[in-house]
């Protein structure tokens, strides 16, 4: 049924790519137990765009994101971030890369329970021993709408609030790319909407690049571009039209 879908296009190549993956393969196990989680993926991501990655469970979404973010190494192929080849980097360089260029939002909120909301937001700067740009920090906190909750600990915040803190934490370093792995997977629809609006806003207002893995059509519809994976291969790449349209697409993939 692949033929009915738009082929992976290079339609955005006119804009400058911030992430570029070529010939990505990721194989788990050997022989009988071999799993090709990624089976030859070429994809680029442009600055200032919000890309959603979709696909059935086990199609390789997380694997792709982990490899793009330097958290995992491909069996074959290469990844460039901001012009820098990252597949051969050692742990120290990858740490630097994460500090300087990447932001993360995970499904589980992953805040430090011992720190306040504001401290959690500033955590990446503290880790990197960078001085916070107070104006930007205030703006970020404002943006996530937690002004009055700055001094609360995560246990005193709702799930949606916690995830907004996590987004703020990812935004605070002005990363070249923000990776989000099912950021709304654990939230109700209202809280999901808040988080997605937040991400959308960051893209629109400050030109943040966002790459988000999701299996929720509503979430994917917030993006500028939707790519889909099946059995480790890129099978769809186009702007999303509507949530209904995305649901249709998923049906064809499953």
């Amino acid at each position: 049924m692949e033929s009915t879908l738009a082929a992976p296009s290079q339609s955005h190549s006119s804009e400058s790519p911030i992430v570029k993956a070529t010939g990505l393969e990721r194989v788990y196990g050997e022989g009988q137990a071999e799993v090709r989680a990624l089976d030859g993926v070429d994809v680029t991501f442009e600055k200032g765009r919000f890309t959603s990655i979709m696909g059935p469970s086990g199609s390789g979404k997380s694997t792709l994101m982990h490899i793009l973010a330097g958290l995992d190494k491909p069996t074959a192929g290469s990844v460039e971030i901001d012009g820098e080849e990252i597949t051969g980097l050692d742990d120290g360089d990858l740490t630097e890369l994460r500090r300087d260029k990447l932001g993360f939002v995970f499904q589980f909120f992953n805040l430090l329970p011992v720190l306040t909301a504001e401290e959690n937001i500033l955590l990446p700067l503290s880790i990197a021993k960078k001085k916070p740009d107070q104006e930007w920090v205030d703006q970020v906190i404002d943006r996530v709408g937690l002004g009055d909750r700055r001094d609360h600990r995560p246990s005193e915040l709702s799930g949606g609030q916690q995830q907004r803190v996590a987004v703020a934490r990812a935004l605070v370093t002005k990363p070249a790319v923000l990776f989000a792995d099912e950021p709304t997977g654990n939230l109700d629809s209202k809280a999901s909407e808040d988080v997605l609006t937040l991400l959308r806003g960051a893209v629109d207002d400050v030109g943040q690049t966002v790459i988000m893995v999701t299996h929720e059509p509503d979430a994917a519809a917030h993006g500028d571009r939707l790519i889909a994976l099946r059995d480790g291969k890129l099978v769809h790449d186009a702007p999303p039209v509507s949530a209904d349209n995305v649901i249709e697409l998923l049906k064809t993939l499953a």
Binding site: L112, L115, L123, K129
Partner: protein, 850 residues
Amino acid sequence: MLSLTFKNLWARKWRSLMTAVAVIFGIALVAGTYILTDTTNQAFDQIFNESIAGTDVVVTAKSEVDQQDGSTPSFSAGVLKEVRQVEGVDLASGGIFSQGAILDKDGESTGGGFSPQFISSTQPEIFEAVTYPEGRKPTGPREATLDKAAADRAELEVGDTILLAKVGKAVPFKLVGLTELGGSSFGGTSVAQVILPVAQKITGNVNRFDQIAIAADSGVSPEELRDRVQEVVPDTLRVETAQENADRNASEIRDSLQFLTIALLAFAAIALFVGSFVIFNVFSITVAQRTREFGMLRTLGASRRQILVTVLIEGLIIGLVGSIIGLFVGYGLAAGLSAVLKAVGAELPANALQVLPRTIIVSLLIGVGVTVVSSLIPAVRSTRVPPIAALSETLVTGGKSRVVVRTVIAVLLAAIGLILIAMTLISGTDGGTGAAQIGGGAVCVLIAISIFAPKLVAPAASIIGAPLEKIGGLTGRLARENAQRNPSRTAVTAAALMIGLALIAFVTIFASGLSSSVNKVIDDQLPGEITLQGQGGVVPFPAGAVDAARNVEGVEAASGVRYVSVKADGKNASISSVDPADIVQVYTVEWKEGSNADLTGLTDREMVIGDGLADSIGVGIGDPVTLTSQDGREFRFTVKAIMKTDSISLAGEGIITQTSMARDFDQRLDAVGLVKLDPDADLDSTQTAIEDTLKKQDYPTVDVLNQGELKDQQKQTINGLLAMIYVLLALAVVVSLVGIVVTLILSIYERTRELGMLRAIGMSRRQVKRMVRYEAVITAVIGAITGLIVGVVFAFLIGIPLSGDGFELSYPIGTLIVILILTALAGVLAAIYPARKAAKLDVLEAVSYE
């Protein structure tokens, strides 16, 4: 359920093994102690049994008052004649076996440290237990043998010259043979053998014997002969069959070794007590981490009892494995301990290491018992997990209501502990019971403190963490927060360390107090500049040495001091005799009633008595006091004056004249010689002159020390003991460090996802490591500081009653600070493995970990 337990243990085998370390050390010390003392006892049994070969009945003198050197009185040789008359005696022969000094031809001691040296007489062939692997038996007056082991140690051979000395000048002998006593090892002890009259002369026993060995006619049983001999000898003598004699000697040795056993077992108890904290902590954490699992088991229909049993069986297996490993380690430790004792000059005799069934049974019981008891509270807690816990995200923990219960228990325990300690100190109970009561009290107080400790963790961590936050920034902050996150976990970990450090602080303060008290005694009581001592300060020396020193140019006054243990109106006391002419110049007495004139004018059968002794037997000036000698004779003395006695009084608890000392108590040897120089004499050259004179006049066993050297020597003795205690306490400290390691590993495991997130947002491996390290340091320093405070307070409290006896505590601040720093470094060391583990966490696995 049981197979689930095993699977759980296996799945967490490293953690379980580390938990086992908590008992391994303690059990190793228990087993090592038993193996060591059993081995020593067995060796002594063998020595005594070998040495009675050919003997049926033995006559020795009873000892009414035990002497410090353990010697027994000799008795008149006239008894032998009576014994020989007894019907059924085939052969009877007197012998000498007395402590003395064995030196090489240059006058250097051939023995080492605290091991005694003996001079013995040769025996008629049938009583002679020794064999001569080299050379032959001494027959002439200038011939001697030495036991082969001692000869090997001192590199002496047949044909060499040795010197023997006790009551007179050192006498040279030609080594004509080396001896062995069956296969027995003597440890560090050495025995030289000379013919009987020579042995009698050297040991000051002319016409006297230490023992008579008797062989029975055939057909006469030893028991029968013993009873017959008993009838003809005076009451002051003890007649035993040879076997009875060997058994009694062996059991006396056993009794005197009992002290070593108890001391070592006390350290084992400390290590196990600390270990129980570690076990408690590991089980508490594990149970908390498995809350969801227990909840799930409950939803599947598992009963509370089943949950309890699974946890307890885990404890039992860990305890069993730990005890078995501990037994093996203990076997090695026994060998190590005897090497340590050998190194400090107290080598014990040993043949093959003895592992008795008792050792195995006790070790296993204690190890399993400690583990199961320590895991009891966490196990009970595991049963409180409701089935709903299986479903909830957050862990269900104990409510607030138990805080009150805990506080009550803590206060009660602290009160009981303090009362126990106070009662023991006030009533002055000493010996084993006293120590046990103080120990029990201390245990109660320490547990009480550790129940309170969680409350202290937050503020303590903030204070200790502050400098770390300064230097470490965020990592310091997070480390501090992590330490505070689970206060009871940190508290128990720190409390384990606290116990070891409290004891270290305590003994450090005490040892330093002892050193300074000894220095004060030397400064206050000894106005002279030079002190004469027998070798190593333990062996008494001939009286002639002090006379020789007195005649050296530049010496103004000299007096020997002799000691004997007596009973004064039935109470054990150590009294001294001095030379009245010179004593007040070299020894400062603090008078309660009386004056120096009373001492210089002291006559026969008059005594100066110490105030402590006078009070306890209720006598004053002019009152009679009955002194009982070692051989049971009684003498009436009149109290002439009363002196103040400190706990370390050079004059003991009473002073009598040299004449009475020699005549009534048979003590003719000086233990110390006090020497005062002319005001214008040069210290160094006079000291050298005294040394030369003593050497020239054949008193090689006398050491000549100036006050500085004397203080150093005392300090060294104290520090030697302190070092040994440190080593034994180090076991407990190592156990508590293992506690830090395990707790950190468990906490890191719990925080896997958190660590992954930190790494994902840019934390470097180095920062992760630093964070873990700081957390360990904070925990260690909390333990160290509370430990040091507890140690100081205990030392202060126990020092109060002792201060009346002239014991002054001194607080070695510098040493305590060094201990604190070392503990912080130990924390860093404990963090190495957990930090590496945390840093190695795969970011990917950590963030996708559930």
